[in-house]
Symmetry: C2
Subunit: 363 residues, 2 copies
Amino acid sequence: MDKLVEAIRKFDNPSVVGLDPTIALLPPQLFAGAREIVGDIDTVKGRALWAAMVNAKFLEFNRSIINAVKDIVPAVKVQIAMYEALGPAGMMAYVETCRAAHEAGLHVIGDIKRGDIGSTAAAYAYHLSGIPRPNSEIFQAFDLSGGASENTSQCKCLADDERDEGKPDASREELGFFPWYEDSVTVNPYLGTDGIAPFVDAAQQADKDIFVLVRTSNPSSDEFQELMSDNDQRVYEHVADKVMQWGSDSVGDEGFSRVGAVVGATHPRVGASLRARMPRAMFLIPGYGAQGGTASDVAAMFDVHGEGAIVNSSRGIIGAWRKDPAYNSALSIEDSLQLVGMNARRAALDMRDALNTALKERS
Amino acid sequence: MDKLVEAIRKFDNPSVVGLDPTIALLPPQLFAGAREIVGDIDTVKGRALWAAMVNAKFLEFNRSIINAVKDIVPAVKVQIAMYEALGPAGMMAYVETCRAAHEAGLHVIGDIKRGDIGSTAAAYAYHLSGIPRPNSEIFQAFDLSGGASENTSQCKCLADDERDEGKPDASREELGFFPWYEDSVTVNPYLGTDGIAPFVDAAQQADKDIFVLVRTSNPSSDEFQELMSDNDQRVYEHVADKVMQWGSDSVGDEGFSRVGAVVGATHPRVGASLRARMPRAMFLIPGYGAQGGTASDVAAMFDVHGEGAIVNSSRGIIGAWRKDPAYNSALSIEDSLQLVGMNARRAALDMRDALNTALKERS
């Protein structure tokens, strides 16, 4: 987590902007003319055009936010569900959003909440460690059927400008291909250690991080997470202890392991006790703002140095333009996106200041 | 679950084929010539070609399996992680696999194990209920910016053959677009009721089903699932009781609700007690074969009529060709895929017979 800690310090801002677009969160003028372009929605072509259009609009909207906040926030959290809601084509907007944020220098948290048995978790962990390179083991297999190995000289014929710009470093190359552009991902713990270990391994290999769901922000999260077990520990406390254990081999220079914890802003007392219980875990705190968590609620989830946590706000920032009286439906697309960005920036600055004030006011 | 129960009866076969391909599970000749086609893997183009190729090969492999088993098994389970492992482009092979199985008349279980807070779970639940149609609420928004509403007549200019073949029925149309082709999906319960309710609602609207993780098959699944709570019930038993509650409004003619349960074959005693505890839940049983569960292990998870459960096997069926002495690397692509299909069929028939024998032998 060293890189994330450094980014938080650099901006003096322990907050994350959640890039979770929905059609309702976009200024309607982004869809002006959509009906003509899409044509008949009851055709395969119409649907494909609609999916492509919403994808493009999500990306355009997200870029406005990224440009408006990239010099004041350290990180974004991209909720993959909002893109998966567009069907398989939505994955491109997810990836391009992650890429745009990555290229703007932001830490990219992929909120994917994956969880499965070991062999399957290993496949999901490619989000972090990349897709394996075929020319090591897999291209060898092709040679079984003969002939393929002789004809590799064509690689050298490619012009240099066809090669990647901004070459990744060598160790990154060895790992594989990185189609997702995430620096960390969220993971669900219900399956236990062998569902988490592949993510920890991948994070270690690729110098990345994970955040394990410990105590979520939603109203019914107490149903299973708060169950009291026979050793007087609640389920989420068992998960917290495992988080510490899973991260024990990867504590960085800043004192935090590669295994962080998701702890909802809506549980301030629990959050404070978890802070003590997981001293080596960076907290990712959702539930601020729209879900009800306040700056003073989350202040107790930071360590004595005012570090060790990063707070997410999604709708409160990306939807802030909707409360701006300067918005009206006659604005051009460009002007409406500028309004989106300006409001996002103002909301992000307010959040930063509210968090820093609450941290200073802690007794 | 009525449709799934009927399909199981029709084939007298309570088993599911898991379509979870990996590169290692495909005959190497499928990749003959790949090196020439891909060219330099260290270019954007090379990587895109590689992703497209693996996608196409996964689909080709899956189609061979589907064609070989479609008249003997009622369902397939498609593990989305194996496709997500190819990056965003992999989603197309996932969808096309689901579509091929759907078009072959198979019940398609999307093994997606999604779980999140309510608003986010609602986005994931589009897997079942479809993407909302823009021309109801959303196209209206476009009219804010004027002009778009007048120009809809072009829809009528489209030739009939541009419209969907095999028109979905009216109620399906009203729901939205169905890009995923799943009949049911798996869901993670860690976030409690408000993470599950959107899936239940979507299933109800679209006449589909869900399977909630209760007791998974993997070795470390006991870490949290087996914790004993202070009312002498284990965590998975609390989840089981919620599964019954979540399904209480959707019990079908066959006696099963839309909310099924994932219970691993590797826990036979637990499975038998869960059978009694969740009489209205269809069980989806992973962990048979490769993970160690046997036919007699799972027999006790069926009800007194020998129904109420469906058992998955993935590698045991799709990888059966690897033990066939008739395989050799000189086989053509076509012959190797035929071998894949033949072996899958034989393994699926063996599994069906083993399950039915074990069900008959139950005392």
